[in-house]
Structures are given as C-alpha cells and as structure tokens.
C-alpha cells in the first residue's frame, strides 16, 4: 500500500537515488513483543485481519492451539504455540507472535527485482507495494524469517505492513492496540530497546530466567520488531525463530559480487567482440567471394 505521508529510505530495484532522500530525518519505529507476558489470546491476529481487511481462509485442526502452521498471504500475524520441556523437566508453553520483523537490512528488499515493489520508509517500516510487485517471489527467498507469502490469484506477495497506514497517522499498529496484556509495545527503536532490556533484567533478577534477553538480531542490521525471550540463547524453541538470521549468503552473492562480475563480463564481452570485429572484421567479405575460391580473400593480414 502506498503511503504518501511516509518517506522512503530504501527502495527495491530502483535506478537512481531514493525519492525524497535526505529531505527530513525521522526516528525509527519499533514493535516490542514480550513473549514472557504473551497469553496467546490471538487478539492481535483478529485485529490484523480486521484492520487490513484480510479475507477469511479455511483452517483445519492440527493438534495445536496455533491457528495455522504458517502465516499466509491473507494472515500476516500468527501466534506460534510451542510446548517446551526444560532441562529440569518442567513445561513451558511458549507463545510467539510471528510477523514481518521489519529488518534494517531487509533480505526481501535486497532480493526484489521490481522497481519500487518493496520500500523501507525512513521510520524503518518495510512495506510491499503490491501495485509494483511482479510476483517473482524473490523476496520469499531473501527473507530469513519466512514471511512474504504469495497469492497465486493476484500473483503478488503480501505481508505485515506494521500498519504503515496507521503509523503514518500517528497511531500504533492494530495488533498493538488490541493486545490485552500489554505484551506488545510500540515506540521508537531506542525506547523499545530500553524497555526490553529493563524487562529482560527483571526476568533475570526476579523471575529465575537467567538467560532472558532481547532478540534484535544484528545479522539483518537489527529488526523493527524485537522480542523479549525467556531464553535468548535458544530462540529456535519459539517456533523456529532463527538464532542468527541474515540475508542468505547466496542472495548476497547474487545481488553483490555476482551482479558486478556479470555486468562486467557482459559489458566486457560486448566491447571485446566489437573491438575484435574492428580489428579482424568478418572471416569473409561476402558469400560470393567465397564462391570465387580465392583463399585469404576474406581475411585481413
């Protein structure tokens, strides 16, 4: 969705400078998810569907409270439920709200070939602009969090917008507004990091979670969605939250060195062939010359 009131900071596959670059400064926004106070009520799931007008989809019982196995093109916000047995045999039921992480270095954006289909606003929100999306799905490959989802009918890819439309009007995202326990917070990245660290310290000092910490993975430059986890050393137990996510190496190679190498090779090849032609010319002047059986006629000395 296009947000004229938000300014773009990064833009996919765009030739030339970023539109409006450097016109104004703005602080980065951030969503803080405190998994230690999430009760898996799914209010955020419903709020997300309602605010974004996402159509219903069918689900089937899958031996879990989790609404569906993964987010969908029309379901951007999913709480992952995980039963986890700790070393001392006690049970934890971990609930993690899964959605776009709004990476500072978004792999989706890096991988996207369509001009302007993915933008990152100056406030850090990574947003898909479906009208520019060509449906190639490279963003799916670029994302280390398995977030962008393809709609085979519209042939476009969709994901959480961090309610860019609401945020641009000074409102919090719909999920934040709906959260009953206040496990979701929204504010500037600095404020949220502070709050998260304070909570993590409280968990370590007062609640026996000695490994509690904040998940703000540096591999993707930090994220616009950060988690407080009971055990930050094992994010995988929260429904496969990657420990050290980064834009896939091959995507980096492809969009980095390979691209320059390829461009160089292609341009070099063209120049080389052209120069070769200038230097040596065709192997023969005309077909007719060949008929005359004159050796070497076509070749330059």
């Amino acid at each position: 969705m296009s947000q004229a009131t938000l300014r773009i900071q990064k833009i996919s596959a765009h030739a030339g400078p970023i539109p409006g670059e450097g016109t104004q400064r703005e602080s980065e926004v951030c969503k803080l998810i405190d998994t230690t106070t999430c009760i898996g009520c799914k209010a955020c799931e419903v709020a997300c569907m309602e605010w974004n007008d996402l159509p219903f989809g069918a689900t089937v019982f899958d031996n879990t409270y989790q609404t569906m196995p993964d987010t969908r093109w029309n379901y951007w916000n999913l709480i992952r439920f995980n039963e986890h047995e700790t070393e001392d045999g006690s049970l934890m039921w971990l609930m993690r709200k899964d959605q776009c992480m709004h990476c500072a270095d978004p792999g989706c954006l890096a991988a996207c070939p369509a001009d302007g289909a993915i933008v990152q606003y100056t406030n850090g929100i990574v947003d898909f602009q479906q009208e520019h999306c060509i449906g190639c799905g490279y963003c799916i490959t670029g994302c280390p969090f398995n977030i962008p989802k393809f709609n085979s009918e519209t042939k476009r890819v969709y994901k959480c917008t961090l309610c860019a439309d609401r945020v641009s009007e000074g409102l919090e995202p719909a999920c934040i507004k709906s959260c009953p326990t206040g496990c979701l917070h929204f504010g500037t990245k600095d404020d949220m990091k502070d709050l998260a660290e304070t909570r993590a310290r409280q968990l370590r000092d007062h609640y026996n979670f000695s490994k509690a910490g904040v998940y703000d993975p540096p591999g993707v430059g930090g994220t616009g969605v950060i988690y407080v986890l009971h055990d930050v050393t094992e994010p995988e137990i929260y429904g496969g939250l990657p420990k050290n996510p980064h834009v896939p190496l091959t995507v980096k190679l492809w969009k980095g060195p390979l691209k320059w190498l390829g461009n160089l090779a292609m341009v070099g090849g063209l120049i080389g062939l052209f120069v070769h032609y200038l230097r040596f010319g065709p192997k023969s002047r005309e077909d007719e010359d060949l008929e005359a059986s004159k050796p070497h006629e076509g070749a330059q000395p």
């Binding site: 219903f56 069918a58 031996n63 326990t181 409280q202 007062h206």
Partner: protein, 850 residues
C-alpha cells in the same frame, strides 16, 4: 470480586485456581501482568491442565479436577504450622477467637460428616453449628443468620427456624480454647498433610510444598505489609461442593489477613460480561434484587418476612458491630414501592402478597428436571442456549420434547430452538414431537444499550453501536409487549388474582418499549416524599433520584428497585456512563469511571486494610484510614464502614455479618453442607474418599432420579477424569456461527495427555469417542504434554479436557465438517447444595478411538 480487576495490579502474590483468566478473561488479565511487571509479583496457577494462564505463571501445579478443597486445606494447614498467619488481623477481624458450641463435631470425629447430620433426609440439623453465647445473652428472640440457603428447599414452605446467633459471643483471645474457631480450624485441617494432599490431588508433595511455601511467603517472619490475592472462576463453582471451595479460599485469605486490602481479596471472575449484573438483579431464584431473600409461603406477611430475613447483631464480647443487614426492611419496602408504586401501602403490608412466594427449588437443573417430569410446561429461553449449557444434554432435550411450548429469543438458530433436530432423533420421532417452538429474533450485544456489571461490580453504561437488522426486537420490548397483553387479558377477563399484574408499576416513557435508562432510574430509586438527612440537613424533594441507599426508608417514602444499585443514576445523571479515568492515588480506584456497587466503593471491607488504630497495614498502599482530626474514616476509596465509628469501639470491618468479623467458621444456616469446608469427592470420582471412605461425596448432595439420570463408576469402565472449559477463541455456543472465530479454532477437540495417547496408540488429530454413562462426544484428539498422568492414591490416573463450544448448528456443523455432538451430553445432573451450580467438571468418562 471483593476487590476489582484494576486492583489486582497492587498485589504481591496471586493464586489462580479454578479459573483460567488468561484464556477466559484476557482483557482483565492485564492487571495480573501489571503486578508482575511493576511489583515483581508472583503467580501460582493450580489447574487440571497447563493453560495459557499457567504459561505466564511462576509455579504450576496440575491438580485432579474437583480436589481443590484438599489443596487449599493443605495450604491452610501449612500456614498455621509455619506461623504464616496475620495474627492481629485474625484475632480482631475474624471469628478465630469465637467459641463454638461444645457439641459441635468435626467430620474426623463424626464419620466424615459434621454434627447434626440426618442420613435419611440428607440434611443437617445445624443447632450445634453455633457460637457459645456469653451467659445471660442470646437465646430467646434474636434473628438467625440471614442466609436463606436451606430455607428455600422444603416443599411445604414451612422453613424450620434454626436457632439464632447469640447476642453476645464468647471469645478466647488467647486462641487456646479447644472449642475456639482457630483451634477447631487447626484440628480440622491437621488431616490435610502434604502426603494426603498428594494422594488426593495428584500434586507431588514437593510441588505442593513449593506452592504452599510461595503463597504463604507473604507472611514470612511476621510481615503484614505484603498482600496476596486469590482469583477463581467457574472452575471452582462447577462442583457439587463449589461454594465450599470458595469458602476455603476465603478462610485462607482471612487467615493471612488479605481480605479488604488492595491487591488482596477473593476474586470471582464472572464468565459473561453481565453475569454479575444478572446475579445482582435476582438472577437466582432464591434472591430478590440486591440479595434480599425471597419470601416463602411461611412468610405470611411483610413483617414475618422482614423479621426472618433481617439479622440481629451478634456482638463478639465487648466489641461493637454494625450489622448492616439490619437495614433489610428499608430495602424491602423500597423494593415493593418500586414494584407496585402507589398500590404498595403500609396498610396492605407494602403489597407483600403480590410477591411470588418460592415454595421449592427453582434452580436451573430443577427446572429442567421439572419439565422432564411434566411439571413445567413451557420455557422462555432468552440469551441462553439451554440445551447446550446445562448438564446432561439428552435429559434437557428429552424434557423439551415433553413441553407444550418453547420461546427462544436469539440472534442465531441455536441448539435449543432446534432441539427436535438434535442428532439421534429420527425423522419419524421428529413427527411425534408436539412442542410448539417460537423463535424470536433478538438484538445482539452491540445493538443494545444499557449497563454491564463487570466482575469488579462496576456498572458501565454502553451505547448502541449498530442498528438491529431486519425484524429484530430488543429484549425489553419483547418482555414489555408480552406483559402489556397479559395485563390486557386480565383487565378484560379478570382472573384468580389479577392484582400483582394489574397493579405492577409500569411508568416508562414508552410502555411497549421501555428505555433502559428509564429502567436504571427506576432501579436506582427516588424520593416519594420530601426527605431530609437529620445530620447534614441535606434535602431531597419528592420525585428526585436518590443519591444512595443510606436514604432508603421503611415508611414508604422511598422507592428503589435494587438497594445496592442505589446511587447509580442520581440527580447528577447516569453515573454508570462516567468515563473519567483519573486515579490520583494511583491505586486503580478510578472513582470517576462508571459506578461501582455498593456506594461506588471499589474494594469491599476496606476497613480491614487498617490496623486497630485505623492506620493502613501498608503505608504505601493506603486505601482508607481514620482521620483523628475529622474524627471520621476517609480515603482514596469510599470507606466500607460506619464513618464515625472510632477505632477504640472495635467495630468489626465485615459489616454485612451480624458479628462484624470475617467468618472462618460459617455458623448455622450459612451453608447447607458444613461450617468448615471438608473435602468430598465429585459425584463421579476415580477413587474412594481417602479422608473417610464411608462418606465419599458431599453428604447433602442429592442425585436426580429420572431415567436419564445415570451416574458412572470406575467399575463400569469410566476411569478417566474429565473436565470441561471454554477457549479464548470462542464464546459459548454462538461464535461457531462467526467465520472469524471458526477460522481461529475450526473444530471441536479433546485434550489428552501425551502419555495416554501413547498407551492407546492415539495420534494428534485422530477422531475420538468420549463416553460417559449418559452420552458420548466425538472430537479430534489434541495430544499434549500439558496434561500429565497423575498418581491418585498411588494409582495412575488420566485426566482429559473438553472445550464446550460446538453443537449441531454452526458454520462447520451445517457443512457437515464436525460431529455435531454436545460436550454436555457427558456431564451429570448434580448440583452444589448452596449455589445450585451443576458439576460440569470432574466427572468420569472413557476414551475410545472412532
């Protein structure tokens, strides 16, 4: 709730048991989380399943459904043994020091029942459940305990009048007398050892001790400042001893000095947005609005009724007592004036004869039993899906088959209005069902205005959000039109006793569709003559709204539809519509938000938050206090006390009890089944009662006797303990019509322990048939580690859980995607003897693959 939702943020310790607030009260659950986040409060969750509440707790104990009294009794024992009690509070604000009659016997000394039990009638003679009076007092003519409970039962209405409380009660402030309440309490729960708790509840001893230690740690080393709260819901009420579970919690809280204090109390989480309001407005048959006891045929006139239900003070020793229920006649007369207006006069006993007299038990389960037996001929079912929500669905369906008519007011076609299409009824049988069903389209919650009374006793006005679709009508319009037509019929045709109908006050702006603001004004009450407060000289003119129940009179000069709601709609306007969120004390009092009964008071019994001198136990959590200069009680909250009662007068803070103190011992008719809670097994239980095998179940609980009433045993193969509950994602039986909810949880399921699934070769998603002796339920298996096998008296026992939300009408049901069975096909018809709530939890089933 004694306290309120917001107040939970003030707590240091939470015991959440018999409730699953994270799932069923997610919005209110922000306050427990606040307490954790801001006060480092700890949360203990005790539940048959590891719930979403347990997932954010600090300690979880998996308990066998229905053994809560054993657990809580064990905690009481632990608190006493380890001296983790609030000594000053206990001594001065509870009846711990009261002496009990010497012929009172505990179950340990009387074959598992209390003294006075008559096995034939399954009732108690409660004479021995009384305090010792100080010589020369008591006896002749003082009133009895005000709770009617048992008095509503006898069919003839000839309520046997139990003896009264003594006018002055003997105390032993040393708490050493073996007949004092404290010593009896200690003795009674001395049997609830950690070993016994483990054998009964299935909670390993170490785990139980951890929980008991953590909960009572607030009173470690004589600390009185910290506060613990107990939070419960229908997990405690859905038992044949539900009231007694809550009693045990209340006793524990009194023992620890937690009642009346910010962050403390015993807090019931109501299961619907307005259940508290329904209860306040006589939702239960033995109440009139404001918890006035309903008259019985034995109450021949107003005075007899008033005398029976108005308690006289029972002063402890030299202490003072307020005995607020002493004002009962004022509430009664004002109610009758509200009901019958000018037709209620002093001469006709305030039209007392117009009031229906309750001749027997009209509780939910009894109604359906009566319908089954052909006594009840028709049913108006509004805003409830009777077939699905009651126990033993088959019995309810069979009952409806025998009724003449059924009127259902609903927003969806539901199981009740289509009972004749329930699975198992053949097309041929359908033709034989003669019940006439009228289906009335009603308005949904967003299409109505009015108030909701929440768990915290707050009345909050809400506006209409949407217009009603199609031909829908408001409930009050339907009721009004039925009333007006019946009145017309009486006018035209007369009848045996037309006066109660003809003279009913019906002074609404639009009589055929009364506005709820009109109704609320009527409930609040008004002056019928010019009134003046003798102390303040404040005047109220005839016709003005009353500012509070202190103004109510028993001389017919006031009318009030519900005394506890008096003050909700005053001359200053609709108080329930106030939305001032300010909270100067930061204690979550919010005096300007909505209106809280009674008297806009947010924490009940808040006098108990202060020591004897009137100083708060914890100066950082000041609620009310004695202002020596002004010589009165003041505070952030409205003091729940006689404002000018000096601390040295030693008036008890529990002003609604005739003795003015909290009842650790429930004397006389307070409870049908014992002055102390004793652990009894659910009616269907997997084991004998380890405390007294000769008395397994609650002795006063009666089984029902229709052919549909069957009770299963382990010997019949019903070995698995089953509990039922609701999910966050659904709301009772109607969200199965909403695609959003259906998407969140699409199908019925049964939660079974992974170990059991392993034993039986069940995989997740496989279809299971759960059978009780009454019926079966088909749903997919949710195999989970969140329920573990238990050792009950050393025997491996499994427990399963079934959410209730599905039936035979709904999106998935109509599409044939689910099995169209009702969870309550499984549950037994058996009820708590005090509150008449069915035992939906802790019955026996067997589990098979389909």
């Amino acid at each position: 709730m004694t306290n309120g939702w917001v107040d939970i943020k003030n707590t240091d310790m939470m015991l959440i048991m018999g409730g699953n607030p994270a799932e069923n009260h997610p919005c209110g659950f922000k306050w427990p989380i606040e307490a954790k986040r801001n006060r480092n409060a700890k949360m203990i969750v005790v539940d048959p399943r590891f719930t979403r509440t347990a997932s954010v707790s600090d300690l979880f104990c998996q308990i066998r459904a229905g053994t809560d009294i054993a657990f809580l009794g064990g905690v009481i024992r632990y608190a006493i043994e380890n001296n983790r009690i609030a000594k000053d509070y206990l001594l001065n604000y509870t009846n711990a020091a009261f002496l009990v009659k010497s012929d009172f016997k505990l179950p340990a000394d009387a074959d598992g029942v209390f003294s006075g039990f008559d096995a034939k009638s399954q009732t108690y003679d409660k004479t021995s459940w009384n305090y010792q009076g100080i010589a020369g007092s008591g006896g002749k003519d003082s009133a009895q305990g005000y709770t009617l409970g048992a008095a509503a039962h006898p069919p003839s209405g000839a309520a046997p009048s139990p003896p009264p409380l003594p006018e002055r009660v003997s105390l032993d402030l040393s708490l050493q007398n073996p007949n004092c309440v404290f010593q009896l309490l200690k003795k009674h729960y001395s049997r609830y050892t950690p070993e016994m708790v483990e054998r009964i509840t299935g909670i390993p001893k170490e785990q139980f001790l951890k929980a008991a230690d953590l909960f009572t740690s607030i009173r470690k080393d004589g600390d009185i400042k910290k506060v613990a709260t107990i939070i419960y819901a229908v997990g405690w009420t859905h038992h044949s001893f539900g009231t007694q579970i809550i009693r045990t919690a209340a006793m524990l809280q009194l023992l620890l000095g937690n009642v009346g204090r910010a962050g403390g109390g015993v807090n019931a989480l109501r299961g619907h947005s307005n259940i508290q309001g329904a209860t306040d407005m006589a939702g239960i048959f033995d109440n009139l609005p404001g918890y006035l006891k309903v008259p019985t045929p034995a109450d021949t006139d107003f005075d007899a009724w008033a005398k029976r239900i108005t308690p006289k003070p029972a002063k402890p020793g030299t202490w003072d007592t307020f005995n607020y229920w002493g004002n009962t006649p004022k509430f009664g007369v004002s109610l009758l004036k509200a009901l019958y207006g000018d037709a209620a006069t002093k001469q006709n006993g305030w039209a007392f004869d117009y009031l229906p007299k309750v001749d027997r038990n009209y509780s939910w389960v009894q109604l359906w039993d009566n319908m089954y037996n052909g006594v009840v001929k028709g049913l108006f079912a509004f805003g409830m899906n009777g077939v699905a929500i009651g126990p033993d669905s088959k019995k309810n369906i069979d009952a409806l088959k025998k009724a003449d008519f059924l009127v259902v007011g609903e927003i969806y076609p539901d199981e009740t209005s289509e009972f004749w299409r329930s699975p198992g009824i053949s097309p041929d049988e359908m033709k034989t069902i003669q019940t006439t069903v009228y289906r009335l389209p009603c308005a949904g919650f967003a299409e109505k205005d009015g108030t909701f009374t929440n768990s915290a006793r707050w009345l909050q006005w809400k506006n209409t959000a949407l217009p009603m679709p199609g031909d829908c009508r408001l409930d009050q319009a339907i009721v009004a039109q039925i009333f007006l037509r019946i009145r017309d019929l009486y006018k035209k045709e007369g009848g045996k006793f037309p006066d109660p109908i003809l003279k009913l006050a019906w002074n609404y702006t639009d009589p055929s569709n009364p506005s709820l603001a009109d109704v609320l004004k009527e409930i609040n009450g008004k002056a019928l003559a010019d009134l003046e407060d003798p102390a303040t000289k404040q005047q109220i003119k005839t016709g003005q709204q009353l500012p509070g129940f202190a103004w109510l009179k028993d001389d017919g000069t006031t009318s009030c539809g519900n005394w506890i709601y008096c003050g909700s709609f005053t001359e200053a306007g609709n108080q329930t519509a106030r939305r001032d969120a300010s909270d100067p004390s930061n204690m979550g009092v919010h005096q300007g938000w909505g209106w809280s009964w009674p008297a806009n008071r947010r924490v009940l019994y808040n006098r108990a938050s202060c020591d004897l001198e009137g100083k708060p136990w914890d100066s950082t959590r000041k609620q009310v206090w004695w202002n020596e200069t002004a010589q009165k009680w003041v505070g952030h909250d409205v003091p729940d006390f006689k404002l000018d009662s000096k601390p040295k007068d030693h008036m008890g803070p529990f002003i609604m009890n005739p003795e003015g103190v909290g009842r650790i011992f429930g004397p006389l008719a307070a409870f049908a089944d014992g002055p102390f809670p004793e652990f009894y097994e659910p009616v269907e239980s997997p084991t004998e009662n380890l405390l007294h095998p000769q008395q397994a179940h609650n002795p006063v609980v009666k089984k029902f006797r229709t052919p549909d009433d069957k009770y299963g045993t382990v010997q019949d193969g019903f070995t698995v303990v089953c509990t039922t509950y609701r999910l966050t994602e659904h709301y009772h039986y109607w969200t199965k019509n909403n695609p959003m909810n259906v998407q969140l949880v699409p199908e019925p399921f049964v939660e079974i322990p992974a170990e059991m699934a392993n034993d039986m070769g069940i995989t997740g998603g496989e279809k299971l048939k759960i059978s009780s002796v009454r019926g079966h339920y088909i749903a997919k298996a949710m195999v989970t580690k969140r329920i573990k096998s238990m050792l009950i008296d050393g025997k491996k026992t499994y427990q399963i859980g079934i959410p209730i939300h599905w039936g035979y009408r709904g999106i998935a049901e109509d599409e044939g995607k689910t099995a169209r069975t009702l969870t309550n096909s499984l549950s037994p018809t058996v009820i708590d003897p005090n509150a008449f709530t069915p035992e939906f939890k802790g019955f026996l089933v067997k589990v098979e693959k389909v």
